[in-house]
Symmetry: C3
Subunit: 330 residues, 3 copies
């Protein structure tokens, strides 16, 4: 079995890891269907405590991790706003996090500071009481657990129609330049054969050079285009994203006509009948609300999948996964 | 047994429901008196998770629900301030709540937006993963669980002196116009026989026409008056309320002489010897602090009753009530 | 066995209490080393609920208490910011706390208002439903549980080198005037024989007269000095503190040259080889980060010790301590 301690970036995950993780995820969802099973899961890590350190506001990722911990019986402490922290007394973030680590068995963190999760992991590795660190999104770059849940959603949904991710065509639409979900997911797709990615965006929000280089080096197939309508009938999955103008200091995002990159009810007619529509959420206007009722809309399941893959990930870090996948009489 | 799913307004409750709910409440209070009993209650819903979505600040209602959930072993997530929510990213409240619902088994919500609880309940009813919604207070109008605990406190306190609510005289004092507890409680009292309500308030804060119409249509007896002292010796219960000037944009509340509607120590002398003094709290000056020590003062018990009726309500929603009322060897 | 109910000030603790408390602490740490043991601890107070009322921001004390409660299976409610409280509706803090007490079995509180914990304890003592109050730091004066953990850290660290606190020389360095940890700890040290305290500070931040009087009346040995370097080679423990300029309205603290009261890597060379370096944290520049790796640096353990002594204290208040110290087959 592959082993993992800190979870810092999506490049840590190999194919074997993904296969194992998704097996655990599927198994624990089954177990959770009875009260007996749910109580069993809640007993698995009842001796553990976690710290959720979210100084970058993110209600949904926070809640997804919190509920994942609760499912395993892990008790949680939370920082959801750095202003309540004693950092106002002049302490460094590293000291604050080392203090918090002394109370718990794991730190799940999301910070506007790029690289903070790495620095904290490194710092704790040098102490007598090391605990695992999970990066729940840092700076503009990495959001590894989002990539995990996106790939899980793709595989699970394709799996039901008899296939897998291999050979699939996937459009990523919108703010390709700045969306960190696009960056993490694209990298993770290298573990599947013959995937073709269509990056669909306005000219000014195209894929960054470093990601392009990564894809080429890893022999991945991709196409860049500004024409969304042309791509829709071609692909097996459409991954919509939100324009990231909270990261935009200049305000130039406001000038872009984004409406050509919205998914409308009309698009449902030209979309393949078993294709998937995904979105990391929150959405603004990228997907018309009336699309929600279409069976191809998977974004609400994607949310819930996020919680379950995080349960599996945490169980795996602590070696509780074998209590899930080995025969269980529920 | 009566069944209930969403809890949105006090008009949902009929007499049979109230009788059952208060039976559950009384039984679970007895069970909770031993550690074994408390641990048993905590095992009843240990497979459930709830979201407390309180974007209107209300510490006491929030804590009452939170502790009610804890008593049943339900694990909770909380939003206590809409600014921490990802709504700042431009998401609708409906999308946010649908996302949150995907992690949990129940939503308890309090919002300044009138009707939001109804809209969310309706929205979730149309999804494959429906969860119950409890309205913990919305807008200016409804606060159904407050009415439940008020009626419970009246019945339990009268019950001890050998009677029930039937035939009782109840004064509601203060801001009759805007207090939503007055509105919800008055409506719920229609399920009891020959109750007479005295609405005691300054002229400008009298009962609203819609409520008056409701009472008349339901054949209820009531009197409106501005004279508090005259009413005190007549009644079996006095329900004091706080002036709601946080809902007052014009500031005209400040001009009203409210002091004639304060309950003072002198009033204790003219109050019947087994009458009840209640208040939904928080109070300002409506009741003198020295009244607290009088055995007729029930407002602190009322708080605790609130927690217990909410435990019973949640148990009932999920069908866990029969595990409480059926023989249990604690 | 000594008994305790409210925990309000360090003068409540006698030597017998300290000895018992530290026995419990050591035993429960051993128990917690297996999952079976940890689950056992979590079952001890699973029927209890606590309120953490922290209207003075203090992340680390808050988290220390929260995790202590979690270790014993106590479910917690929290107020971390008075602005979310319904105090904004004009309620007194006493009413708010009495309300909160009605939901829980214990209140742990930290407030900028000196004496509030005492007033709340007294208020609750007069009600039919009394619950214990733990002072987690109030105003400028008392922080009794910090003193408990500091003495525990001293004894445990000295114990490993075959001694105890008796006869030891301890330097307290920095803001001796205003640091409430210095005040609480100094008082508690009277329970040990022949301890000699060195108060090391700039002239303007010397020990207050009331504390000096206390030490003299209790026959304790102490020296005041401004010369840090001279003291370092003499002592068995150095207790560094942070300058408390958040309590400083005039801003005169900024004018003090504090750098002579920083512990640097050079100081390690002149410090005794089994001496201890402590700090209540958070630190600013009082201790160089490179000192952290030295085995004599105990401040991170001190943090964790804080959590464990709080577990022991809470267990003791509720009489759960005998379930910890009596034979247990883990």
């Amino acid at each position: 079995m592959s082993e993992i301690y800190h979870v810092l970036r999506s490049s840590q995950f190999d194919r074997k890891f993904l296969d194992e993780l998704y097996d655990i995820t599927n198994t624990l969802r089954k177990i959770s269907q009875s009260k007996k099973g749910t109580d069993y899961l809640r007993s698995l890590m009842s001796d553990r405590r976690a710290m959720l350190y979210f100084t970058q506001p993110s209600t949904r990722t926070f809640l997804s991790f919190l509920n994942a911990c609760q499912i395993l019986g892990i008790q949680c402490s939370e920082i959801r706003d750095s202003s309540t922290s004693s950092e106002i007394k002049g302490e460094t973030q590293e000291d604050a996090l080392r203090t918090f680590s002394s109370y718990v068995d794991m730190i799940i963190m999301r910070s506007p500071v790029a690289g903070l999760a790495d620095r904290v992991a490194e710092l704790l590795d040098d102490t007598p009481r090391r605990v695992p660190v999970i990066n729940g999104g840092s700076g503009k770059d990495e959001h590894p657990t989002q990539a995990l849940l996106d790939v899980y959603t793709l595989r699970r949904s394709f799996g039901k129609t008899g296939g897998d991710l291999d050979g699939k065509k996937i459009a990523m639409v919108g703010d390709i330049k700045r969306g960190r979900t696009v960056r993490s997911l694209s990298r993770l797709l290298r573990h599947f054969k013959d995937v073709h990615i269509y990056f669909v965006s306005p000219e000014s929000l195209k894929i960054e050079d470093d990601l392009k280089k990564y894809l080429i080096e890893n022999g991945m197939n991709f196409t860049e285009t500004t024409n969304f309508e042309e791509v829709i009938p071609e692909v097996d999955a459409i991954y919509m994203t939100r324009i990231q103008d909270e990261h935009d200091e200049s305000g130039e995002s406001k000038a872009i006509d984004y409406s050509k990159y919205y998914f409308t009810c009309d698009h449902l007619k030209i979309l393949k009948k078993d294709a998937l529509i995904m979105h990391p959420l929150p959405r603004r206007k990228e997907i018309d609300f009336h699309v929600d009722a279409d069976p191809r809309a998977k974004y609400w399941r994607q949310e819930r999948n996020g919680m379950w893959t995080r349960v599996a990930l945490i169980a795996k870090i602590f070696g509780a996964d074998k209590d899930i996948t080995e025969p269980y009489g529920a």
